[in-house]
C-alpha cells in the first residue's frame, strides 16, 4: 500500500514539476511594464510632435475663432462665443504640445551639453507662452506640467501675465546664448527650419523684438528694440520665415485642420467661406484672393443642379446653403 502511495505521489509531483518547469514564468509577476509604449522619448521626436501639434492648434483652434467672420460655422459665424468656446483648445495645448515642449526642454537640460535643442525649446516656449498670455491673460506657468513630478501638483496656480512675459524674454536671451555655443549634436525633427541654427537664432532675436514691441506701452523697451535693430540679425528674408507647412498626404492625415474639417469626406464639411468675406475681397481686388479660394469656376453654377455640392443646403441646417463663388473670366 505504502509503496503505491509513494508511486502515485511521485507521479503527482512529476505532474506538478512538469507544469512548473514548462511554465515557471507564470509565477513571475514583474510583467507590468507597458510593452506597447516607450518609457523614454528622444528630443527630436518630441520636437516634431510639438511643432506639428502646436501649428495645428494655432491654425485650427485659435484661428477658427479669430477668423470667424470669414467662415460659416455655427459658433464662429455669428460670434456666439461662450466661456466654453476655447476649452478644447486650452485643454489640448496644455495636455499636448505645451507639455511635450516642457519635456523637451527638461530633457535637453538634463542631458547637458545639448544647447541647440535646449535653445529651440526655449524659443518655442517663449513664443507659445507669450501667445497664451496674449490670448488668455494669466495662465498656469511655473506650476504647470507637474502632474508626474515627484511631488505632483494637481491644481497649478495661475501666474501673473506680466511675469510670464518677462520669463519669455529671459528664455529668448538664454536661447540666443545657447545658439552661440558650439555643439556636435545635429538637430533633427525640425519641421520648420530643418536644423538650420542661423535661422533659429534670427527667429529668437525677432521673437524678442516682437515681445518687446508688445510690451512697449507698459514698459520702456526702446533701448532694447534699438539694440536689436542695430544688430540687424533679424528675419528679413522670406526663406527665414517661421512658417509651418502642412503636409498634403491623405494618410496619415496631417493636413490643415480646416482643410480636413471642410473638405474631407462626403458631406461632413461644416465650414465654408462667408459670402460677405468673399465679396469684400473680390470687390477690393484683394491680392490674397486666389490663395484663399481654392474653388473657382468660370461659369455660373446651376443652383437647381443637386449634383453640385455647393448649391445644396447645409447638411445640418435649414437656414443656409453652401456658398459658391463665380470669377468672371
Amino acid at each position: 500500500m505504502k509503496k503505491l502511495h509513494r508511486k502515485a505521489l511521485a507521479a503527482f509531483m512529476s505532474l506538478i514539476l512538469l507544469f512548473s518547469v514548462s511554465s515557471c514564468d507564470i509565477f513571475d509577476l514583474d510583467v507590468n511594464t507597458d510593452p506597447n509604449n516607450p518609457s523614454q522619448a528622444a528630443v527630436d521626436l518630441l520636437l516634431a510632435n510639438v511643432l506639428s501639434n502646436m501649428s495645428s492648434s494655432l491654425a485650427g483652434g485659435f484661428n477658427g475663432a479669430s477668423t470667424g467672420f470669414m467662415a460659416q460655422t455655427t459658433a464662429n459665424d455669428d460670434f456666439n462665443f461662450s466661456n466654453a468656446s476655447w476649452n478644447g483648445t486650452w485643454n489640448f495645448l496644455y495636455s499636448g504640445p505645451l507639455k511635450d515642449l516642457n519635456e523637451l526642454v527638461a530633457a535637453a537640460e538634463a542631458q547637458g551639453n545639448n544647447p541647440r535643442y535646449l535653445g529651440i525649446g526655449q524659443v518655442l516656449k517663449a513664443y507659445y507662452f507669450s501667445t497664451m498670455v496674449d490670448f488668455f491673460g494669466d495662465v498656469p506657468y511655473t506650476e504647470a506640467f507637474k502632474g508626474d513630478a515627484e511631488t505632483p501638483i494637481k491644481e497649478p496656480v495661475y501666474d501673473d501675465d506680466a511675469a510670464v512675459y518677462a520669463d519669455c524674454l529671459s528664455l529668448l536671451d538664454q536661447a540666443i546664448a545657447n545658439f552661440a555655443l558650439t555643439s556636435t549634436v545635429a538637430v533633427r525633427g525640425d519641421l520648420i527650419y530643418n536644423g538650420n541654427m542661423t535661422r533659429w537664432r534670427k527667429l529668437a532675436k525677432t521673437m524678442k523684438l516682437r515681445l518687446l514691441l508688445q510690451t512697449r506701452n507698459v514698459s520702456d523697451v526702446a533701448g532694447q528694440i534699438q539694440a536689436l535693430v542695430t544688430e540687424g540679425d533679424l528675419i528679413t528674408a522670406a526663406a527665414d520665415d517661421f512658417q509651418y507647412e502642412f503636409p498634403t498626404a491623405v494618410t496619415p492625415d496631417f493636413r490643415h485642420p480646416w482643410y480636413q474639417a471642410a473638405y474631407a469626406g462626403g458631406e461632413a464639411g461644416f465650414s465654408y467661406f462667408g459670402h460677405q468675406f468673399m465679396y469684400e475681397m473680390l470687390v477690393n481686388g484683394d491680392p490674397r484672393f486666389p490663395f484663399y479660394f481654392h474653388r473657382q469656376t468660370t461659369t455660373v453654377l446651376n443652383p437647381d443642379d443637386p449634383t453640385d455640392k455647393q448649391t445644396i443646403p447645409c447638411s445640418q441646417r435649414t437656414d443656409c446653403t453652401y456658398g459658391y463663388f463665380v470669377v468672371e473670366s
Binding site: L29, F145, A268
Partner: protein, 1101 residues
C-alpha cells in the same frame, strides 16, 4: 502491492462464485422507468459480498447466488439504488428511476466544488441543458434570458452574432468591465468583445461567449453573489457563469448513446415603423428630389384630397423640363439620371425643345410611396445541426460531438456560422486516481455589411457615413431604393440620388468579416491519498485567434478610394489550480471539510491592425493590394495572477452549514510590493425543516445568510506614465519623414490599490403543499469601493486623465424565484409556472472629486453619466427650459422653446424590475412552453425615433398643413422665468409654428432638446414559445431510435413597448454600444431585432 491484493481479491471472487455457482443463477433485465429502455452497465451486487456483475448492452444480467436467501443491490450513478430480496425467484426484472434528489440538489459551485444545494448559504441559479438548447437561439447568453432571477441579459441588436450583455446583480464597476467571469469546463473563458467603445463604429462585433454552442451545454450555474464566487478571485466581482459542456459530462445512462439535434428557424424583422405615404421628399411642402427629408409636396394620390380639405393649391407637377414645361402629372425627373446624366439610357428621354432641338433629359419618374424597408430586409434563417456520442460505464466515460450553426441575417450578406468539435473523457482508476480531460475546437465566422450606428452620420458628422444604417430607415418615401440602380454598370461604383453611399451598394461591397478559431481544453487529475484527503490538479488553456477584415470597395462616397483594414487578435489564457481537500466526520453530528487551493493564471493578448488605403483594383480587396499601408496598432498585453484560497465547511446534523472562504491574490497589474490583497467571507445555511418538526404542508424550509468581500485588480499598465509614438509626418518642405513622440495624456498611478466589493445577502427557500409551490427569495446589498477609474485632471498639469481609486457604488436588490405547479392531473397533464423576478436599485454614492464621471456617448455633453446620488449610468443631455411650475418656456418671437443653460440628467436607463414567466404545459408526450418576459422601465434616447420624426417619415406626422402651437408659457431666455402680463399672470403661448418647424427646426420636435427623444423602455414580450412532442416508446419499438422528439419553436414572436413613440414599432432591446461598454440608455439605430419561428428534431440511438 494493491494491485496484487486486487488480483487476489478477484481470484478469490471467481473461486467463491464458482463454488456458489453450483447453487443457482438469477437473471433479469434492468429498464429505465423514464422511457422503458434497457439499461446497460448497471451494477448488480449480492448484498454483503463482493459478488457482482454488470448488465450487458441489452440490460440483461446473470448472477450466481447462494441457494437460499440473499438480496441483490442494483446501482448506477444518477439512478436510485434499489434492493431486491431474491427469495425463491430466478428472474428479477427491475425498473430503475432517476435519482431526482441527487440530480437536482447537487450544484457546481466555485472552483468546481460540487455541493449539496441545501448546504449553500448563498443563491446559485442553475439551468439545465434542455433550458438553453434548441431554443431557436444560437447565442448562449440570449438563450438564458428571462430564466434566472438576479440576472439581466440584453441582446445587442438583431445582427447575427452581435454582442450580448449580461449583468449579475447590477453593475459593480463605474468605468471598468462589468461582465461576469465565464468558466467553461473549469477553465476561464474569455468573453471580450475586442471592439470599439465608439457606437459610431461597428455595431455587430460579437462577444466571445458566442463561441459556446448552447446545444453543447450540459449545465449552467450562475454564481451570483460575492459569497458564491469569491474563490474565483479577482474577476468574480461581477459574478461567475459556470458552464459545463457535454464534453465533460461525467456519466451516461447507457453504454453508448448517439443523439442528433437539428433545427431550422426562419427570422424576419421584428417591427417596421408605420411610415407616412402622403408627402414626398423635400422641404417646406415643396418637392425636391435631392433631399433626405419628407417635408415636400403631397404625393399625387393625395393632392386633390388635401387641396379640398385645406384649401391649398398643390399641383401634381414635381419637375420642369429645361424649357420650363412641366413633367407629366405625378412624375418628376428621375433622381438617378439627374445625378448621372446619360449613364442609364433607360432612365433618359429625348425632349424636343420649343426651338425644335432635341435634348436628352432625365425620364419621368413616378412619384409614389415605396415599401423601402419591407423590400430591403429579407427573411433570414438559422440552421443548427449537432451530433453527440457518449459512452460510459460507472468508472469511465467518453463524450464526443460535432455541431454546426449557420445563420443568415435579415440584411443581405449578414451571416454568422459556428462549427464546434469536442472530445472529453474521464475515468476513475481503482487505485483512487481520477483523470479527466476535454478538448473543444470552435470556428466562428461572421460577416456583415459595414454597420456603424445610424445616428452618427446625421448628427455627429461623418463617422458612420459608410454604414449601411447611415440613412436606411429614413430614405425619402418616394425613392425606389430597391428598384433603382445602385451600382455603376461599367465600373461597379456607387450610384445613389445624392452624394452618399447607397445602402444596397454597401450591403453588396463593404463588408466586415471576422474569422475566429478557438481551442480550449483542460486536464484534471485527482488522487485520494487517504479516505479523507484528496489532491487535485487542474490545468487548462483557452486560446483564440480572431482575424478580421474591414473591406471598403473603391467607388464609394465616404471612402472614395476604398480601403482594407486587417485586424489580428489573439488571446491565450492559462489557468492552473492545485486543490487539496480534507474531509472528516468529527463525530456523528459534526462533519468538516477544508479545501486549500492555489491558482496561477496568465492572460496574454495581442492585436495587430493594418490599415490599407487606396485600393488598386476593386477586384482585389487585400491589404497588399492597396497603395498605402499603415500599421495602426501593434499591441501586446500580459497579466498574471497568483492566488491562494481556502474554503472551510462545517455541517452540524445535516441541517446547519457554515462555510468560510478566504483568498489572497498577487496580481501583476498592481504596483510591485503592494500587489497582494486578501478577502474573506462567510455564509450560513439553516435547514429549518430538518431541524424542527414542521407542519405537514411545509416540505422544505431553509434560511441563509452570507457576508463576503471580493477584491479585483487593475487592468495592466496603469501604474506608470508612458510616452506614445505618433504617425510619421511627411513634410512637404523637407525630405524624409519626421517621427513623433508625446508623453501620454494619462497619468499612471504608482500607488494603485485593488477594487473591493462587499456584499451581504440573505435568503429563504421553501417548498410547500407537496412541493406544489416553491419559493426562493434573496435580498442582497453590495457596495463597491476604491473603483479604479480614469478621472479627469486639470489640463495644466500636462495630463487629461489620471488613474485613481475613487468612489463608491452600491447595488441593492431582490431576487425572487417562484415555482408553482397549479395543475397536476393523474392523466399526466401538468401545468408548471416559474417566475424569475429581479429588482435592483443602484446608486452612485461617490463618483470621485468632481462628483460625476461622464462615460461618453454621442457628444461631449450628451451621453451616459455617473453622478453622485443618482443611479448607475444616467442619460445626460439638454432639456427645454421650464418655469417653476414645470411649464415649458416659449420664446414669443419664434413660438419655440429654448434649452436650459446646462445639460442635466434626462433619463434613467436602469429597469425598475424584470420578470420572466415560464409556463410549461405537458400532457403525455406533448409539451407547450411559453416564456413571457417583462421589463418595466429603463429609459432610452431613441435616435431612430428622432431621425424618423425629423425627417417626416412617420404616419403620425401626416397632419402638416395647419399651424400649431407648442404648449407652454412665454418666457425669457435671459432670466429663464415666465414672462408675466400686467396682472402678474403667466401668458399662454399663442405663437403658431408650422408642422415643418415643429418637427424639423431646432426647438420643439425631435431636433429640439435631447429630452424630447427619451422614451420609457418598458417592454413585454413573448420571448420563447415551443410546442414539442416526444414519440412514445410503443412507436419507437422496432426502430433504431431510443428517443425521438419534434418541436415547433418561436422566439420573440410578439412584443409590446407601450411607452415608446407610437408607430415606431421599435424593439427597445438594444445595447448602446458593444457589451463591454459602460454606456447605456441610447438606441443609435443598428440592425433591428428579429422574430424567429421554425422547428427542430431530436433523435437518439
Amino acid at each position: 502491492m494493491k494491485r496484487i491484493l486486487l488480483l487476489c481479491f478477484m481470484l478469490v471472487s471467481v473461486f467463491v462464485s464458482e463454488v456458489w455457482a453450483q447453487d443457482r443463477v438469477v437473471s433479469g433485465t434492468i429498464t429505465s422507468t423514464d422511457d422503458g429502455s434497457s439499461l446497460p452497465g448497471v451494477n448488480v451486487v449480492l448484498k454483503g459480498t463482493t459478488v457482482g456483475t454488470i448488465t450487458d448492452i441489452d440490460g440483461n444480467y446473470k448472477i450466481s447466488v447462494p441457494a437460499a436467501g440473499g438480496t441483490l443491490v442494483f446501482s448506477f450513478i444518477g439512478l436510485t439504488t434499489q434492493e431486491s430480496e431474491i427469495g425463491a425467484r430466478s428472474v428479477i426484472d427491475v425498473a430503475m428511476a432517476s435519482d431526482v434528489k441527487q440530480l437536482t440538489e447537487v450544484v457546481v459551485t466555485a472552483v468546481g466544488i460540487e455541493r449539496e444545494k441545501k448546504a449553500l448559504g448563498y443563491s446559485v441559479a442553475n439551468l439545465s441543458s434542455d433550458q438553453v438548447s434548441q431554443r431557436a437561439e444560437p447565442d448562449p447568453l440570449r438563450a438564458m434570458q428571462g430564466k434566472m432571477p438576479g440576472v439581466n441579459i440584453t441582446g445587442g441588436n438583431g445582427a447575427p452574432g452581435s454582442s450580448t450583455k449580461i449583468n449579475i446583480r447590477g453593475i459593480s464597476s463605474m468605468t471598468g468591465n462589468s461582465q461576469p467571469l465565464f468558466i467553461v469546463d473549469g477553465i476561464p473563458f474569455d468573453n471580450s468583445v475586442n471592439g470599439n467603445d465608439d457606437p459610431g463604429s461597428n455595431t455587430v462585433t460579437s462577444n466571445r461567449a458566442f463561441d459556446i454552442d448552447p446545444n453543447n451545454i450540459e449545465s449552467i450555474s450562475i454564481l451570483k453573489g460575492a459569497a458564491a464566487s469569491a474563490l474565483y478571485g479577482s474577476r468574480a466581482t461581477n459574478g461567475v457563469v459556470v458552464i459545463t459542456t457535454k464534453a465533460s459530462k461525467k456519466n451516461t445512462k447507457k453504454g453508448m448513446e448517439i443523439s442528433y439535434n437539428g433545427s431550422v428557424n426562419w427570422q424576419e424583422i421584428s417591427g417596421i415603423p408605420d411610415y407616412q405615404d402622403v408627402y414626398t421628399q423635400g422641404s417646406n411642402q415643396v418637392y425636391n428630389g435631392g433631399f433626405i427629408g419628407n417635408w415636400g409636396a403631397p404625393m399625387p394620390d393625395y393632392v386633390d384630397q388635401i387641396n379640398q380639405q385645406y384649401g391649398t393649391n398643390y399641383t401634381k407637377t414635381y419637375s420642369l423640363y429645361p424649357d420650363g414645361a412641366p413633367y407629366p402629372d405625378g412624375t418628376a425627373s428621375n433622381p438617378i439620371s439627374n445625378r448621372y446624366p446619360g449613364l442609364f439610357p433607360d432612365l433618359m428621354q429625348d425632349y424636343t425643345m420649343p426651338d425644335g432641338s432635341v435634348r436628352s433629359v432625365s425620364a419621368p419618374y413616378k412619384i409614389e410611396p415605396h415599401d423601402i424597408i419591407g423590400e430591403f430586409f429579407q427573411t433570414g434563417r438559422v440552421v443548427e445541426n449537432g451530433v453527440t456520442l457518449s459512452s460510459g460505464s460507472e468508472k469511465a466515460s467518453i463524450n464526443t460531438g460535432f455541431s454546426r450553426m449557420n445563420q443568415e441575417g435579415i440584411i443581405p450578406n449578414q451571416t454568422v456560422d459556428r462549427t464546434t468539435l469536442f472530445f472529453g473523457g474521464n475515468g476513475q482508476l481503482d487505485n483512487g486516481l481520477f483523470v479527466s480531460g476535454t478538448v473543444n475546437y470552435v470556428n466562428t465566422n461572421q460577416v456583415s455589411p459595414q454597420s456603424g450606428a445610424s445616428a452618427f452620420s446625421d448628427y455627429y458628422g461623418g463617422q458612420a457615413t459608410n454604414s449601411i444604417f447611415a440613412r436606411l430607415f429614413y430614405l425619402p418615401r418616394n425613392f425606389d431604393l430597391n428598384g433603382l440602380p445602385f451600382e455603376h454598370p461599367v465600373d461597379g461604383s456607387n450610384i445613389f440620388y445624392r452624394a452618399l453611399d447607397n445602402p444596397r451598394w454597401i450591403a453588396k461591397n463593404n463588408l466586415y468579416e471576422s474569422n475566429v478559431n478557438r481551442v480550449y481544453g483542460n486536464i484534471t487529475a485527482g488522487y485520494d491519498v487517504t479516505e479523507w484527503f484528496n489532491v487535485t490538479l487542474k490545468g487548462g488553456v483557452n486560446t483564440y485567434h480572431d482575424f478580421r477584415r474591414d473591406l471598403i470597395r473603391p467607388g464609394g462616397i465616404s471612402v472614395p478610394n476604398g480601403g482594407v483594414t486587417t485586424d489580428d487578435i489573439s488571446n491565450t489564457e492559462q489557468d492552473y489550480n492545485l486543490i487539496m481537500t480534507f474531509s472528516k466526520d468529527i463525530n456523528e453530528d459534526l462533519s468538516f471539510r477544508a479545501l486549500v487551493g492555489m491558482n496561477a493564471n496568465e492572460r496574454k493578448y495581442s492585436r495587430r491592425t493594418i490599415g490599407g488605403a487606396n485600393v488598386i483594383t476593386a477586384s482585389l480587396l487585400k491589404t497588399n493590394a492597396t497603395s498605402t499601408q499603415i500599421v495602426l496598432r501593434d499591441f501586446d498585453r500580459l497579466r498574471r495572477l497568483i492566488g491562494v484560497y481556502s474554503d472551510i465547511s462545517l455541517s452540524y446534523k445535516d441541517f446547519l452549514f457554515l462555510n468560510v472562504v478566504g483568498r489572497n491574490d498577487w496580481s501583476s497589474t498592481l504596483p510591485q510590493g503592494a500587489n497582494n490583497y486578501f478577502y474573506p467571507g462567510a455564509s450560513l445555511s439553516f435547514v429549518l425543516s430538518d431541524a424542527v418538526t414542521m407542519p405537514s404542508f411545509i416540505n422544505f424550509a431553509k434560511l441563509r445568510v452570507a457576508q463576503t468581500k471580493v477584491g479585483r485588480d487593475a487592468d495592466p499598465y496603469q501604474v506608470r506614465t508612458v510616452y506614445g509614438l505618433g504617425l510619421p509626418i511627411a513634410s512637404p518642405r523637407y525630405s524624409g519623414t519626421f517621427n513623433t513622440a508625446t508623453l501620454g495624456n494619462t497619468l499612471g498611478n504608482a500607488t494603485l490599490k485593488p477594487e473591493f466589493t462587499d456584499e451581504f445577502e440573505v435568503g429563504a427557500e421553501a417548498r410547500v403543499l407537496n412541493n406544489i409551490i416553491g419559493l426562493d427569495v434573496t435580498y442582497f446589498s453590495r457596495s463597491s469601493t476604491d473603483q479604479i477609474a480614469s478621472a479627469a485632471v486639470s489640463r495644466s498639469t500636462g495630463f487629461t486623465q489620471e488613474i485613481v481609486n475613487i468612489g463608491e457604488l452600491t447595488n441593492k436588490g431582490w431576487e425572487i424565484g417562484l415555482d408553482v405547479t397549479p395543475v397536476k392531473l393523474s392523466n399526466s397533464f401538468t401545468w408548471n409556472s416559474y417566475f424569475a423576478f429581479t429588482k435592483i436599485k443602484s446608486e452612485i454614492v461617490d463618483a470621485g472629486p468632481s462628483g460625476e464621471i461622464f462615460i461618453g456617448g454621442a457628444g461631449s455633453t450628451f451621453g451616459t453619466i455617473h453622478r453622485n446620488g443618482a443611479p448607475y449610468g444616467q442619460i445626460f443631455g439638454t432639456s427645454n427650459a421650464r418655469d417653476d411650475e414645470g411649464n415649458i418656456l416659449i420664446d414669443k418671437n419664434t413660438g419655440l422653446p429654448f434649452p436650459t443653460q446646462t445639460s442635466g440628467i434626462i433619463g434613467d436607463p436602469n429597469p425598475d424590475f424584470t420578470l420572466g414567466w415560464t409556463n410549461t404545459f405537458s400532457f403525455k408526450g406533448v409539451t407547450l412552453k411559453a416564456l413571457i418576459d417583462w421589463k418595466q422601465g429603463g429609459d432610452f434616447y431613441s435616435f431612430t425615433a428622432a431621425s424618423l420624426m425629423l425627417r417626416g417619415q412617420l404616419a403620425n406626422s401626416v397632419d402638416r398643413e395647419g399651424l400649431r402651437v407648442v404648449p407652454g408659457v412665454y418666457g425669457s431666455n435671459q432670466t429663464y422665468a415666465a414672462t408675466l402680463d400686467e396682472n402678474g399672470n403667466k401668458i399662454r403661448n399663442t405663437t403658431p409654428i408650422t408642422a415643418f418647424d415643429s418637427h424639423f427646426s431646432n426647438g420643439w420636435g425631435a431636433y429640439g432638446q435631447d429630452e424630447v427623444n427619451v422614451y420609457d423602455g418598458t417592454v413585454i414580450r413573448l420571448r420563447e414559445l415551443s410546442l414539442g412532442y416526444s414519440l412514445p416508446k410503443s412507436i419507437l419499438d422496432g426502430t433504431p431510435f431510443g428517443r425521438a422528439s419534434i418541436s415547433l419553436t418561436g422566439r420573440n414572436l410578439w412584443f409590446r413597448a407601450p411607452n415608446v413613440l407610437e408607430g415606431l414599432n421599435l424593439d427597445p432591446e438594444q445595447l448602446t454600444a458593444t457589451a463591454d461598454s459602460n454606456q447605456q440608455g441610447f438606441e443609435y439605430g443598428a440592425t433591428p431585432t428579429t422574430r424567429r419561428y421554425g422547428f427542430n428534431v431530436s433523435l437518439s440511438f
